[in-house]
Symmetry: C2
Subunit: 300 residues, 2 copies
């Protein structure tokens, strides 16, 4: 089944101990779409400026990513982020953010996308995320991402959103901030009281935790000897998770668990190079091979 | 097969958000022995002072823990540690340490213990750990633990020890300090170059990583809604790991992987209450039940 994602498309300038890239293709919806495209056709809704290289759009179209929902604002510039990772690279230091055209993003879901069964609301204002929900019809599954900024500045709007989604994806620090609970399992349980029927807490290099009322899944990160650039790892995780799930058509417990593992594997590929570079030189066979290695590392 | 452990026996005073205990039974060899005793007979070598309650010794004897190697120094006091955990309880704040009789610990392995096939050198000076190795005969497997203090102050002695052991257990910070490598997988590979044929890197609430030249195992921690006291979690992990392994008699890859899982489960019980309290109200059936739950949480 197809998968709709609404979120940011950015040009990232990133510095890590392994190098520097300037104006490389990034953004939550970009990483998500590429990761999901190994599993299912993706429908992308976002906005870029007149400076957005058409080659990027063609590259995405070359995957099964329908970019007819990608709006080009002719009098504006694309969202830009500049950041740096040092030490254990667990946290990005943001050096510059220019929201540009993404600052006034008012998502318009094309009519042809409105009955997409699987919907992912990538990180963005909960007000904007709810605007998407007003435009989609009878989705099978809606999952949202969020971040500390919205928890702090639009808490009520976020709580309203949470009553309308099936799943929430957020990182450990955000889960603690949202629920005021230090223990991550309890934080997850508190999220479930807010509306979603499942929550995924991403722990960066420590993996991810899935909680629903009846299921608990724990997935360590795939161990890597070299992490080049963590930018987009969380979005790649979500893309692998939702892409696989959409490909099955059925978000039951067994598929949700396998989806968590695919999310883990996609995140592991993402961090092995800057931007989308590592994705661009992998394929489903290599992804499945790594999943098999991963299974071997923890099968009991 | 039986299992020898040499290490500290302490009286711990611990404060966590869940309460306070004073002079509770602790120490690396204590947690290790109790955890291992669910799987195999344990032979304990350590030292305590004249103030050590005989009830503690009787309690250990009531498990399959042979305390004939426990020396009582009549003119000294038992090792005491006082510490506090706050916030996410990931790190202990040491408030007081009195090594007392453990400061001059010169381990003497009783003749009846010298041919024990499985040997664990709990955290202690590498000089003292090597003295144990001089006294044991033809062990099947020797595993050592260590800590930042020895990496900093007795590096050469530690490197000499590493050439004589089969496995090393240490935490993530210690692995980085020993190898000067931030990435944990690479840190693990560097440890293997120092002698051991496997290394286990413990990551606290994030689980553990096992590396040998041919195998990589990753184990997330068992997710818990309540962590009461993390003291002894690493030693309980090691006890579950070595105890299970000794019970199989054969440290092959399949048994090493299952042993990692048992280590994870024993650590999860340990942190659910102060001192040995949670261990004292569990049994092998409950341990196996939790292992089964754990398997379910990540089986693919």
């Amino acid at each position: 089944m197809s998968l709709l994602v609404v979120g940011s498309i950015a040009l990232d300038s990133v510095e890590t101990p392994h190098g520097i890239v300037t104006d490389a293709l990034g953004g939550s919806a970009t990483f998500f779409s590429y990761a999901a495209s190994y599993f299912t056709p993706v429908r992308l809704v976002g906005v870029v400026g007149e400076d957005f290289p058409s080659a990027h759009r063609e590259m995405l179209e070359g995957r099964r990513i329908d970019t007819s929902g990608l709006k080009i604002e002719t009098h504006g510039k694309t969202f830009r982020w500049r950041g740096r990772y040092t030490g254990d690279m667990n946290m990005a230091e943001t050096l510059e953010v220019h929201l540009n055209v993404f600052g006034a993003f008012d998502p318009e879901v094309p009519p042809a996308f409105r009955e997409t069964p699987f919907v992912f609301l990538a990180n963005g204002s909960p007000v904007v995320q709810r605007k998407v929900l007003e435009q989609v019809k009878n989705p099978t599954l809606i999952v949202a991402d969020t971040m500390n900024l919205w928890i702090e500045t639009q808490r009520d709007e976020l709580l309203a959103l949470l009553r309308e989604v099936d799943g929430l994806v957020l990182n450990d620090g955000e889960a603690r901030m949202l629920t005021e609970e230090i223990n991550l399992v309890r934080a997850g349980w508190k999220v479930l009281e807010l509306g979603p029927r499942f929550v995924i807490i991403k722990k960066g290099e420590h993996g991810a935790l899935f909680l629903s009322r009846s299921e608990t899944f724990v997935m360590p990160a795939f161990p890597l000897g070299e992490v080049v650039d963590p930018t987009g790892a969380g979005d790649s995780f979500a893309g692998g998770f939702m892409g696989y799930l959409a490909s099955t058509g059925k978000p039951d417990p067994a598929n949700l668990k396998t989806a968590m593992a695919y999310g883990t594997i996609l995140a592991s590929f993402n961090v092995e190079d800057f931007s989308l570079r590592r994705f661009q030189r992998t394929d489903r066979a290599e992804i499945n091979h790594r999943l098999e290695q991963y299974r071997e590392m923890m099968s009991l």
